[in-house]
């Protein structure tokens, strides 16, 4: 099953690549449409839009998913129901492909809902309490986005069909489009875990690592960004786009800070994903959809690679995910630490790796166009924070001393996992330049003063020095985190925002509903409709029985009495 699906997806990736190159070189785009039902004035159609963006994204999705399936052959080899897992992953890929190729809100809804539901099934795959809670949080946060898209479908019915791409140029100042854009932005924010809805992404790390590599690094969370890229022509003058800018910059900043306080390997990577998502959303809301798409793709490559390396390390550490137990791994697992290093440095934006092309372009566009001071500061600060937590992670995992046991065997020769990582390594090295040559038919014109151009390098160096200094832990180091406990917990627990989605939502309402249940359902409603009516009827029946159990002459005499009364009335 693994090999079959791997080959199928790899072949699919090659087909997509071929068509992508052909389409983008000739400027083609193909639109298929099947009309399913047409009634009164609405027509439900199934449409497929194949232009370079969707083909490119499909190529990346199928590449990552084929590599992840191949990887999970070895990662999940002790799993009894591996076929179930592979089928879930394939269904996920199918929903994602459906989302990518659809210019039609109904098929976007199919893909979107499919993504939400299947990611829930994948998150709860290990059936324990933590996975259950994480899955519930994931599913319900995604559900908000589903509801928003359903409402958008309702509102778009005003225009006669659900092919939204045809309406952008004509309906920009319409009130309906205003509502639609608001809802689409909220839907994208839930899927891509921006600030009010950002609590599910670190929690969803309870999923198996291949799932995290596929879902939570490159495909599910970028579905929101992709939707906004598709809707970009509509949203570009809207007010909520500026709100999105604000929230996504804050997401980027907050997750960058929180990742510095985390000690769980997968959570650090999740928070770095969150930070990069904030970056994508913010550059999208500044008005550069193609750069956002570019960063989406390169980020997918190195983040999937990073998750896979994390999976290898977790397997090696006897399923321990805490980085305080790791250390010195670069000496013992050279190939894995090669992949880890390259993906980490690509994340930081080290020159000429793949992340550099997209990240540096973003930062230069931010500096070149005139935005306000907060945008500027937070962008560069977040870039510095990225380097900070990356270097902290590298120090903890690879450079400091090994902390698990005295004698331990670190095994790097699992070639199935390594081969899959090498594919992504190759792409992670080259995809930056390759994509920039394809996507941008002409480069962006950027003219910056010297220090501003080097500002990226300044914050990177500053971040790396800080990362080095923070992770120099020895036996007698003072734990400054405990000294500033309130501030540390505020910054570590994502500014207490997960309480919005978990504790704050459940406690008050459960309390209130208990009061209602006790008083009404088991209280007054029983008297007025349940047992109360039964008691009344029973009493009536008992009362009637007293009349029924009587002397027989009384019956006859009552009949005579009735007739006498009628007779008297007759003769009056």
């Amino acid at each position: 099953m693994c090999f079959n699906s791997f080959f199928f997806l790899f072949f699919f990736m090659l087909i997509n690549f071929f068509f992508f190159v052909y389409f983008i070189m000739n400027g083609l785009s193909v639109f298929f449409e099947w009309e399913i039902i047409s009634f009164n004035s609405m027509s439900i159609v199934m449409s497929i839009l194949l232009d370079w963006m969707s083909l490119l994204f499909m190529m990346f999705v199928s590449l990552i998913s084929s590599v992840v399936i191949f990887y999970s052959k070895s990662y999940m080899n002790s799993e009894l129901n591996l076929n179930r897992f592979i089928i879930l992953v394939l269904m996920f890929v199918f929903s994602m492909v459906l989302l990518i190729i659809s210019p039609n809100l109904i098929s976007i809804l199919l893909g979107w809902d499919g993504l939400g539901l299947i990611s829930y099934c994948l998150v709860i795959y290990y059936q324990n309490l933590k996975s259950y809670n994480a899955g519930m949080l994931t599913a319900l946060s995604n559900r908000i986005g589903d509801v928003m898209i359903l409402m958008v479908i309702c509102w778009v019915m005003n225009y006669g069909s659900w092919n939204y791409i045809f309406y952008f140029d004509f309906m920009k100042n319409d009130y309906v489009m205003f509502i639609i854009s608001f809802m689409i932005i909220i839907a994208a924010m839930t899927k891509s875990a921006q600030i009010p809805f950002s609590s599910w992404l670190p929690a969803a790390m309870a999923a198996p690592t291949p799932v995290s590599a596929l879902v939570h690094s490159s495909t599910l969370v970028t579905a929101g960004v992709y939707l906004l890229i598709r809707f970009n022509y509509l949203l570009i003058d809207m007010f909520f786009f500026k709100v999105l800018l604000f929230l996504s910059i804050l997401t980027m900043f907050m997750s960058g800070i929180s990742a510095n306080y985390e000690f769980d390997l997968k959570k650090i990577i999740a928070l770095s994903t969150l930070s990069q998502l904030g970056l994508m959303m913010s550059i999208l809301s500044l008005g550069f959809p193609d750069i956002a798409f570019f960063h989406l793709l390169t980020h997918a490559m190195f983040k999937a690679l990073l998750f896979m390396c994390a999976g290898v390390i977790i397997h090696m550490m006897n399923d321990i995910q805490d980085i305080r137990y790791m250390g010195g791994l670069s000496l013992y697992i050279p190939l894995t630490s090669l992949c880890l290093n390259i993906s980490n440095l690509s994340l930081c934006g080290i020159p000429f790796l793949s992340g550099f092309y997209s990240k540096d372009l973003i930062l230069e566009m931010v500096s070149f166009n005139s935005f306000n001071l907060m945008v500027f500061i937070l962008f560069y600060l977040s870039t510095g924070l990225t380097v900070f937590y990356t270097f902290r992670l590298i120090m903890y995992v690879m450079i400091n001393d090994f902390n698990l046991m005295m004698i331990y065997n670190l095994y790097d020769e699992d070639y199935i996992m390594l081969n899959s990582m090498f594919v992504l390594l190759f792409m992670s090295l080259l995809s930056g330049s390759f994509l920039s040559w394809f996507i941008f038919s002409y480069p962006y014109m950027i003219y910056l003063p010297f220090n501003l151009k080097l500002m990226v390098i300044y914050v990177s160096i500053l971040g790396s020095i800080l990362g080095f200094m923070v992770s120099n832990m020895g036996i007698y180091s003072l734990n400054k985190l405990l000294l500033s406990y309130n501030l540390s917990s505020f910054l570590c627990l994502m500014w207490f925002m997960p309480n919005l989605s978990t504790y704050g939502l459940s406690y008050i309402y459960l309390n209130f509903s208990q009061i209602l249940f006790k008083n009404i359902d088991m209280g007054w409603s029983e008297i007025y409709s349940g047992k109360g009516i039964f008691n009344i009827l029973k009493n009536y029946s008992v009362f009637y029985n007293i009349y029924q159990m009587n002397n027989f002459k009384i019956y006859l005499f009552s009949f005579i009495l009735w007739f006498m009364i009628l007779f008297i009335f007759f003769f009056i």
Partner: protein, 334 residues
């Protein structure tokens, strides 16, 4: 003494008396039919070896003859004193009262559960179905609408409330018969054809239930909890009871539906409400009888066993009829 030829003779006269009563030209002929009805039913139910059935037949004789006397008297008064055909007067109330007492309808129904308690199942079947034909048809010839609507309400309420406290199956069916009398009297007021339809379906349902109880020789509710009751018998019981209560996919829903339709078209909203609520109470006590036999773990008496007789194979057929009659009964209206 009680051999089959006696019963056949009196049964034949019983059928004939009803025909006399409903097809006569004058009121006098109706009265004659009613009297012959009474006189031929008494030998059917009296069994001199059983003191209870002697007492029952005596009670039956007393009430019915009182009602017949009154009926005769009112007929004569009507002929001599009233020369008009107006139906809304006191004489019609008096005539209707005596006919209602003949039927066992509500304010004059107190004899009905007592007598039903003393008869065997087959005699009960005759009492509940055949004996109601001639009083109802006579009712349809000369009725007082306002009085009858009040009687209908009384019928329904007493039929539902009286049955809540019963454990004897015969009395339960008696009270449900009183309740169904309410529906039937209203259907007389709509059209006689509808009454015929309701009456046929009602007697079919009652016949299925009574034959089932007769075959199992059950007279009380605690006899229903038998250890090895066959699944099809329980199913049949369930279907028939629910059909009698008027639950939709079964046969008994159809006439009630038509009557409700007429009620709503003619704006009898309050009456509709009373019909509905009393039906609910009736269904409650039907379900109370049968639901414990339908759960997986129900109260069974281990020392009672049911002997399957050969003539129980028709039970499947009767269940099938109850379920599919909704569709089949539309053939009546073709």
């Amino acid at each position: 003494m009680n051999n089959n030829s006696n019963k056949m003779f009196f049964l034949f006269i019983l059928f004939f008396s009803t025909l006399i009563s409903i097809s006569s030209n004058s009121w006098f002929g109706c009265w004659i039919g009613l009297e012959i009805n009474l006189l031929s039913f008494i030998p059917l139910i009296s069994n001199s070896k059983n003191l209870l059935s002697v007492e029952t037949s005596l009670k039956y004789f007393l009430t019915q003859s009182l009602a017949s006397i009154n009926f005769l008297f009112m007929i004569l008064i009507k002929f001599s004193l009233l020369k008009n055909f107006n139906m809304n007067n006191i004489i019609s109330i008096m005539m209707n009262s005596s006919l209602l007492m003949k039927m066992g309808s509500a304010p004059f129904h107190f004899w009905f559960p007592n007598i039903v308690e003393g008869l065997s199942w087959m005699n009960n079947f005759m009492l509940m179905t055949w004996q109601k034909i001639s009083p109802m048809i006579l009712l349809s010839y000369y009725f007082n609408k306002n009085f009858l609507i009040f009687m209908i309400i009384t019928n329904l309420i007493i039929g539902s409330l009286g049955g809540l406290n019963q454990t004897s199956l015969r009395k339960l069916l008696a009270f449900s018969s009183i309740n169904n009398l309410g529906w039937m009297i209203f259907s007389i007021m709509i059209s006689e054809n509808l009454w015929l339809f309701y009456f046929l379906i009602y007697s079919m349902m009652i016949s299925m239930m009574i034959s089932l109880f007769f075959l199992m020789n059950m007279y009380f509710m605690n006899q229903l909890f038998i250890n090895n009751m066959n699944f099809f018998i329980k199913l049949n019981l369930l279907i028939n009871f629910l059909s009698l209560g008027g639950l939709p996919p079964f046969m008994g829903f159809m006439p009630k539906w038509i009557i409700i339709n007429f009620l709503l078209i003619n704006k009898f909203y309050f009456l509709t409400f009373i019909f509905m609520m009393t039906s609910l109470i009736i269904i409650y006590y039907y379900i109370r009888i049968i639901y414990s036999s339908f759960m997986f773990n129900y109260f069974k008496m281990k020392w009672v066993n049911l002997l399957m007789k050969n003539n129980m194979s028709l039970i499947n057929l009767s269940s099938f009829i109850s379920i599919s009659s909704m569709i089949l009964s539309t053939f009546i209206f073709m």
